[in-house]
Subunit: 302 residues, 2 copies
DNA sequence: CCATACCGATGTTAAAAAGTCATCACTAGG
DNA sequence: CCTAGTGATGACTTTTTAACATCGGTATGG
């Protein structure tokens, strides 16, 4: 694809931080890449990059330019996908930045459903914390972001947000597994495994215990939800997760989940959104619509 | 400027309607231009143009593309103007599509005021009827449109609209010149010169007379406001114009204008606007701000 | 019904652009 | 003070783009 080469080249330099590394990534020599940059700077009459001893950095003019270039490349992709769409076959690529909870069940299932209809569409699923997910939208590395709890960026345009009650996860032979819902006061009587403080679930639990005289002392702490889930079974311990991260069909496995009483722990919210003002490629827009429908169907829309 | 050269080439073909004519406009041979198009079509795997015996026409895919290209070229201009702006000097070009009324006094004055501050900014002022002005916004040939009376296009984003009471224009020795405001019933007793039906002023007058038993029979009809103004003096006849088209300082000339009583003729509106969703280049945005301030200062904002 | 004029496509060749290679000058870090 | 990494640049090659000439096709006007 020859259209917008200069934009792609300069984008690569920004990402790499140096001309030589970018050249390697682009499979051309640094001389060629350097010449393109010099030519572009001459055309504009402005320095795009500051030259540093260890590489290059965007000038303020360059900041404006790279935003333009990324928007243009993304627009080109979108139009290409629209064109492909009107020839009948839906092609394209959907890039998603999301938090851990979506990875084990929800997204694999949803991607599979979509790809069954449109096998020509490829997917990229990238684990990102809230901040990185929002950043990925801003620099066009992701079409959609799905994150748990508060959204900060003003450029984030929420497509749907659904309620997620915190669930206690435990082995099926745990004493609390017999109950249909559990109270937080019951949980603290057993050892618990918790995600680290930077995660929304932990934040909700901390908020809940702060207001009461309960205290949750984690026997195990981890930043991997997957580890926590498996560990809960292995050690017969309680951990906490949100429904979207738990298998939907109550597969009669060794792991069960029980909602924590709403009076004890406030529900969190999952946000799905895109970059404000951006028109998504066809495939991404349709996939977003599918997710919206599924989420609205399974959970309480807020 | 080599960036976006394919976009410019294809835009030229769309505008010209044939590859050969576009090639001439671009000062290249038709062969070169043709090859560009074929290469671009091969890249996309879609025909951009339908080949007709007398030229080419956009395919549906081409329609999507040309919109992208025009947006990209306009965005590039905007970013260039932003970059120029942050180096200190404001440079750029402002293209305006407007109706006749703005041409004699208002815009020349406003452009002069702006260019006094920023001599590096150039202007294009193009006379367009409502529909053509809106079209000029849509295809990025104009940054701003200023039109009288109804705006139809949904893509038109109004920046300001001000009230324009219809004025009777006549020689200073006309009997009605002694009055500070005139009634329509007085005007019909004298010969009048009117703009043709497609203009807003005429439309307002027709609306006014339709509801009453008055009737305006033009002795002279013209589609040139300038002709009407001069003719009113030359033949000592009455014509009608809106204030923005009349000199603001009550220059003691041979021509005077008197507002028609608001009970007789409803006021019209002048709309200034841009393409919805577009971010204007710095110069255009600042000029629009100046116009907004001036209009709001002189007339009643609606 | 043909002559003409205009259209887009294409083979060949020339010019221009972009890429490669080798190398320089510079600077941070051990 | 040396090393490893950076951007810049001259000389050369390859690729791309444009020019020129020309073909085949189709409306249009006498």
């Amino acid at each position: 694809m020859r259209y917008l080469v200069s934009a792609r080249y300069i984008d690569a330099v920004v990402k790499a931080g140096s001309i030589r590394q970018a050249a390697e990534a682009l499979s051309i020599t640094s001389a060629a890449l350097n010449r393109r940059i010099l030519a572009m700077e001459a055309e504009l009459g402005v320095q795009i990059f500051e030259r540093l001893p260890r590489g290059v950095r965007l000038s303020s003019a360059g900041e404006l330019l790279i935003q333009l270039f990324r928007r243009q490349m993304s627009d080109m992709e979108r139009v290409k996908s629209q064109i492909a769409d009107l020839t009948g076959v839906r092609r394209g690529h959907v890039s998603i930045a999301c938090s851990q909870a979506l990875l084990p069940y929800f997204l694999p299932e949803q991607v599979a459903v979509y790809r069954k209809e449109h096998p020509q569409v490829t997917f990229g699923v990238h684990l990102r914390d809230r901040e990185a997910a929002e950043q990925a939208l801003a620099d066009y590395t992701a079409d959609l972001a799905i994150v748990f709890e508060p959204v900060r960026m003003s450029e984030f345009h929420t497509l749907i947000s659904v309620r997620q009650q915190v669930h206690a996860v435990m082995s099926s032979d745990h004493p609390l597994a017999k109950k249909s819902t559990v109270r937080l006061s019951e949980c603290v009587m057993y050892p618990v495994a918790l995600p680290t403080r930077r995660y929304g679930v932990r934040h909700l639990l901390d908020m809940a215990t702060q207001g009461s005289n309960l205290s949750l002392e984690p026997a195990v702490e981890s930043d991997s939800f997957e580890f926590l889930r498996y560990h809960a079974v292995a050690e017969n311990i309680i951990t906490f997760q949100i429904p979207v991260g738990l298998t939907t069909g109550n597969a009669a496995g060794t792991m069960v989940s029980r909602p924590v009483d709403r009076r004890d722990v406030p529900a969190g919210l999952i946000y799905m959104g895109q970059l404000k003002g951006r028109t998504l490629p066809v495939a991404a827009a349709r996939f977003a619509a599918q997710l919206t429908a599924t989420l609205a169907n399974r959970y309480e829309v807020m």
